[in-house]
Structure formats: C-alpha cells, structure tokens
Symmetry: C2
Subunit: 418 residues, 2 copies
C-alpha cells in the first residue's frame, strides 16, 4: 500500500510537470541542460561519494569486476555525461516544429505540429549514466521522465537526479520533470506498470527477461527490442575484400552489443573463395564458428550448427554461418530467423541491392556497410534513447523526434461544416 501510494504520487507529479514543459522555450530548456552539465562537473566529489556507497555494497555482494566497472562514476564517465548534455542542448528542438501545413478548399489552414508525448518511464539496468542521458533527451523533447535504474546503482541514480532537479529549481523549471524512484523494492516496478493514467510510454532497456516482463505487464505502450539477431548476406556478386572487412567489423569490433552480426549468410557461388579465408581471420580473432554442413566442409575446424544457432543472439565471439543457394534463400532465412533489427547485404549488383533494401523487414536495412551502424549517433540522429524493433510509433534508433508526436492545428476564419 505504501509503495502503491508512492508510485501514484510520482505519477501525478510527473503529469503535472508534463503540462508545464511544453510551455518552456528552447532557450530555457538548453539553459537547464547546460547548468546540469556544469553542476555534474562541480559536484563531482558529492557524486563519487554517493557512488562509493553503491560500489562498497556491490563489492560486499561479490559482483563481478565487469559489473563494478559499469557501475563506477569515474571522472571520465562524469565528463562524458556532462558533454552528452551539452550535445543534446545543441540539437534542434523538435517541439513546436510544424512538419507540414496545407490549405483546404474552404480556406482552412491545417498543420501538423510536433508535441511531447507527455510522461515517459524508463526501466534500465546497472550503468548510472543512463539516468542523465535519458533525462536529458526526455527533457529536451518536453517530456517528464520517471526513472527506475538497477537496485545496485540506487545511491548514484538518486544523486544524479538531485543534480538535475537542483538545476531545474534554479532555472524555475518544474523540478518533478525528472524523478528517480527512491526505492529498490521490486513491487515499485509492478505498481509503475499500472499507472496508465499518468505514464504515456515505457521504455525498458536491458535483458530479454526484463523486457518480456514489462511487455506482458504494462498497461501503457512499450517501446522495446527483444534482441538483435543481425545478418550479413554475402551475395554472389559481392566484392569479397569488402565483404571480409564488413563481416569482420560486424562481428569483432564490439561483439557484446545488439547490432553485432550473429549469423553470416554466404551465396554458394562464392562460398569456396570466401569462407576459408574469412574464417581464418575470425579464427585468429578468437571467433568460434558454428556452420551448416556446407560451411563445415569448407572450414574443417568449425562446429556443426543446430537450429538453435539460427535463433541465437550470442553477444560474444561466436558466429553462425550458413551457405545459401541464392538470394531468395537468404531472404527467407532472414524473414524466418531475423529479429527486425539490422540486416546487411554485400553486393556489387544494383538490382539486388535495391531489392534487399525494399524487401527486408528490419528497422535498419543496409547495403555494403557494417551492421554496427544501427545507432542513433552513427545514423545522424545526434543521440539515442534506445532501438525499437516493433513498428508502432518508431522503428529503429530513437532520439528526440521519436519522443514526440504531432497534433493537428487548424487556423480558421469562421468556417463551419455544411
């Protein structure tokens, strides 16, 4: 009952703040963002003190060195957060943009104006810098945000939110535009998912389990991606040197992320000239290969792939490889096993490139470049709050524009309907 009431209050305050945010000018919002950046730097000692509480607890609990590293608010991480906010301040403000305007035969002017979504909730794990990154993007796009980070980062997250709120207060903005849920109680998440009257959108970021739990229990819309099973299809007419560079980059440059390649599809006409060489590069980089029978015939040290490998998001130095008869078989494989995340073709053939771009159903479809480019920053959105692999509202990396919608505005001069 206490938790329920706490969440209800947080929801109500967020909704009140959300009514005020659209009235702030771009200049006022940017001023707040720059002030938060400044205060992150000047209050580094306070932040690191609060962060130390989380780190002490994490060590006591025996968390892995990798997790502790992700949890740490080092000087570098704090500076990166501050710079991130300054970059968001420099981005164009989507709110108030009239994306289109036209005139009707009766003289009415009709336009579509960008407006914030309202209240956005984020659920995420470990890294406390997400608190600032997400708060910055939501605030710039005129949305109030409710943040629920990992329980192991609770002190750090509360300290970061406090710095944001102090800057809001100093600037006369609504301090409750940014709120961190002040408890690690798991019941808080369940209560939050019921607040459909106060929360317009939930964005979960983390493992598949968290995302499924949110999707199944939330009463409000959810923007999410379950996983990234990304393919590179090396066509019969590929530039094989280019294919090697792209596939190597897609798998090895950062294997633990959702836009890394997990399955490589190779046209049978080039399998013999491409696969042994390519896999030798992979072997040297420590990549384990799980191949179809034809792959294993060409790469004797490869393991046999099972059907589960076509579905796997390894997030590791493991790669599934399949030789396909033709482009249709590659497209069928992608349609069957792909996760609508990122798909690449390598080909020198004009028509196949266009066909791939048109027919493949993924949030980002690429010709002749690495899958690793599915990222808001890399594609030129200036930032990223997550990647959506469902088609409603947003498909692909989401930044400021994706945190808005449009309303119709109509300028009349007394028109009535006949």
């Amino acid at each position: 009952m206490e938790i329920k009431e706490l969440l209800l209050q947080i929801g109500k305050k967020a909704k009140q703040a959300a009514r005020k945010l659209p009235t702030l000018s771009t200049r006022e919002k940017n001023k707040v963002l720059r002030l938060v950046a400044q205060n992150l730097r000047s209050q580094k000692a306070y932040l690191q003190e609060e962060n130390q509480k989380d780190l002490d607890l994490a060590r006591k609990k025996g968390l892995s060195a990798a997790l502790i590293d992700r949890l740490t608010l080092s000087d570098k991480v704090i500076e990166a957060m501050a710079q991130g906010l300054e970059e968001v301040a420099a981005l164009p403000d989507p709110v108030g943009e009239v994306v289109k305007m036209w005139r009707r035969p009766n003289g009415l002017w009709v336009g579509r104006m960008r407006i914030p979504l309202g209240v956005i909730a984020m659920i995420y794990e470990s890294r406390p810098n997400v608190t600032i990154d997400a708060a910055g993007l939501c605030f710039k796009s005129g949305n109030a945000v409710i943040l629920r980070g990992g329980s192991e980062a609770i002190n750090s997250n509360l300290a970061l939110a406090r710095i944001f709120q102090e800057a809001l207060q100093e600037s006369g903005g609504p301090t409750e535009a940014v709120q961190v849920i002040p408890t690690t109680d798991r019941a808080a998440v369940q209560e939050m998912l019921k607040l459909e009257e106060y929360i317009d959108l939930i964005i979960p970021r983390g493992g598949e389990g968290l995302i499924r739990f949110v999707t199944e229990n939330a009463r409000m819309p959810v923007l999410k991606h379950f996983k990234g099973v990304c393919h590179v299809y090396v066509d019969r007419l590929a530039d094989l040197e280019m294919a090697k560079r792209i596939c190597f980059n897609a798998k090895v440059q950062r294997p633990g992320v959702c836009n890394a390649m997990e399955t490589m599809l190779v046209h049978e006409a080039v399998a013999e000239s491409f696969l042994p060489d390519m896999c030798e590069d992979f072997r040297r980089a420590g990549v384990e290969i799980r191949g179809c029978p034809r792959t294993c015939a060409l790469v004797p040290w490869a393991k046999q792939a099972t059907e589960e490998d076509w579905d796997a998001e390894y997030l590791d130095l493991i790669l599934a490889v399949r030789v396909v008869k033709n482009m249709d078989e590659a497209l069928d494989h992608i349609a069957r096993w792909g996760s609508n995340h990122t798909e690449t073709i390598v080909t020198t053939d004009y028509q196949r490139a266009l066909r791939f771009l048109r027919e493949v159903d993924a949030s980002v479809v690429i010709t002749n470049a690495s899958t690793r480019f599915n990222d808001g920053g890399q594609l030129g959105l200036g930032a990223e709050i997550g990647i959506s692999t469902t088609k409603l509202h947003a498909y692909g990396p989401m930044a400021l524009e994706e945190l808005t919608t449009t309303k119709f505005i109509v300028f009349g001069e007394g028109q009535i309907r006949e």
Copy 2:
C-alpha cells in the same frame, strides 16, 4: 479449441499475405481497388441477397429501425463503397516514400522509407460498409487486414470480403490480404487479441465498452479513442456572430458523432451579450442546456449542470455550458475534462489564438472554426480509418500514412565502424 485454431490459421495467413503486399507496385494495388469497385456494382444482386439474410434476422430479433437502416446495403450505400475505393485508388501511395535522406560524414547515405505496419485487425459494429472502407485503406497502404464486424452483419461482411478476395485472385494478389472472421462466436475476439505474433495493430471502432475491453485484453498495440468531449471556448475578444455560427454548427449539425461539441465555455465578459441569444437558437433547435449557476441566471430555462455533465459525451441534442472567469480557467477546464479529441477557441485576439493552439493538448486544436472539422476527409487526408486520441504512433484522424511506419535504409560503399 476449434475457434482458437481457426483464429491462429487466419493470423498465419494474414502474416503470409503481409509479406507479399509490400512487393506490389502502386499500379497493381490500384488495379485491384478499381476491380473491387467494379465488382461491387456488378454483383449488387448477390450482395443484397446476402444482406437480406441479415436484415431478416435483424427484424426477427426486433432491432430498432435506426439499426436496420445502418445495416442495409442499399443501392446508394453500395455505390458509395465503390466510389470510396476509387478515391483511395486515386490517393498517393505512402509505401516506398523516402521521407528524408541525408549524408553522413563517412559518406553513408541514410534515409527513412515508409513501409506497411504488417497485419491490422479491425473490430467494429453494425455498418457493413466499414468492411470495404477499412479493407481498401489497409490494402492500399500495403497491410493485410483481419476484420471482425458486428454479428448482425455477418452475411453481408462475408459477401463483401468475398468480392474483395475474388478481385485479388483475378489480379494475382494474395487473396488472404483481406479476411473476415467467419463466425459470430464471441470467443473469436478473445482469441484474436492473443495473436500478438501475427497481428501488429488493433483498431476497435464502436462504443466505449468495446474499446475498453479491447484495450484491456489486447497483447498488441491498440489505436483508439474512448470518447469525444469536445469544447468550444468563446473568448472575451470573440466575434460573437462568428461564435454563434460555430457553436451552433458544432452542436447541431450532427449531434451523434464524436467531434460534436459537448460543452461550451464562455468568458464572463461576453456571457451577458452572448448566452441568451445563443441559447435561444439552441432552444429552437431542440437543444437542452445544462448550465453552471451563472449560465442558469442568464438562461432561466436551462437545467442546472452537475459535475457529471462536464464529463459527458451526450451524442445528443444536449449541451453543457459554463461561464469562466478568464482564459486560464477555460484551459484548466479543458485539461481537466477534455478527452484529447477536438478543442476550439473563438477569438479575434492574435496572442490568445496562438496560445490556445500551443497549449491545448488535443488531437486537433482549432481556432475560429467548427469542431466538426476533426475528420480525415475534412482535414485533407483523403480518407479516414479512425481517430486516435492517444499519442503513440498517431494522434488525430488516421488515413494511409498513419497505417505505415518508416524503416532506415542505408547506402554504403564498404564503410565499417572504427
């Protein structure tokens, strides 16, 4: 179990059809739409025979004359459906449009291309013409559609779907792009709401009860509006003659629809000069007035409004009226009681007009024109499949563009990520 299997099969077939639809050219799609229009006309006798079965049953069940009228496929209704399809054929095809394209510093070209959503399900009541209207819009925008109309129209709906499917077959398109659920069993709806693997979007159209049921039970996104509690605010600086024309039109021209005015807000400075005259017009048109105390003082025959009246969607010749102290009070009233549907201000003041357009949170915000213009056709979208009052994906009337999303397409020349 049988129903469950039936729905699963329908979902699978729709998904298969949805994979083929994006590959049809605009010309091919328009040919199908025109052929359906032609066949509706040439198979009028068959349609009216099937419709007669529904009408006989409706009479036997004692349905009201109004409901029987809505159920009837008269010559006029059939011609209107045919013409509607020809109009949709003439509209621009959203699919394949690249809404934006830009170049990155590394030479990558990045674009956003419109694509269909996939499979859309519609649940609606009585009027069988919705079957053709919805199927036409979904097909043109490249989506497969699953239709569930009112049980009293089942024979008419199946006959209409058959005509659409025959045209698809004749043209070589996927016949399962348009399916009507061939049973009136209520369990079919519940099974449909569980098919999140096969259905990308559900659009319920009908009473608030139906829409709430769908929202609470659907596992996939729902586009809906619960109700339209639309206001006209007559400002202190309104042209009162214009205000009279607009308010009369908004209430009386067609009171049974969601964009009719339900509450009129009047600035106190003009209440005395405006309200008695205006209400006299309403009285003559048979409109019942439910007013705040100050309204009742000026219009002695008005009934006293209770708080429930501010929340009411009458859909009838009844109007709630409230005198407000100033524009802030009007904005607060709209924020508190509005349904995010349609809101109008009548004013000659430039700044108040702009402030209203900016600050009011509704899918269509209007200055100096009737609320009745919130309609896809009236606003120039060429058509309408429904009106959304929730902000995710679409806000306001929805037509072809709103039945699509965008994916990112990337043209590379061997780029990899450093």
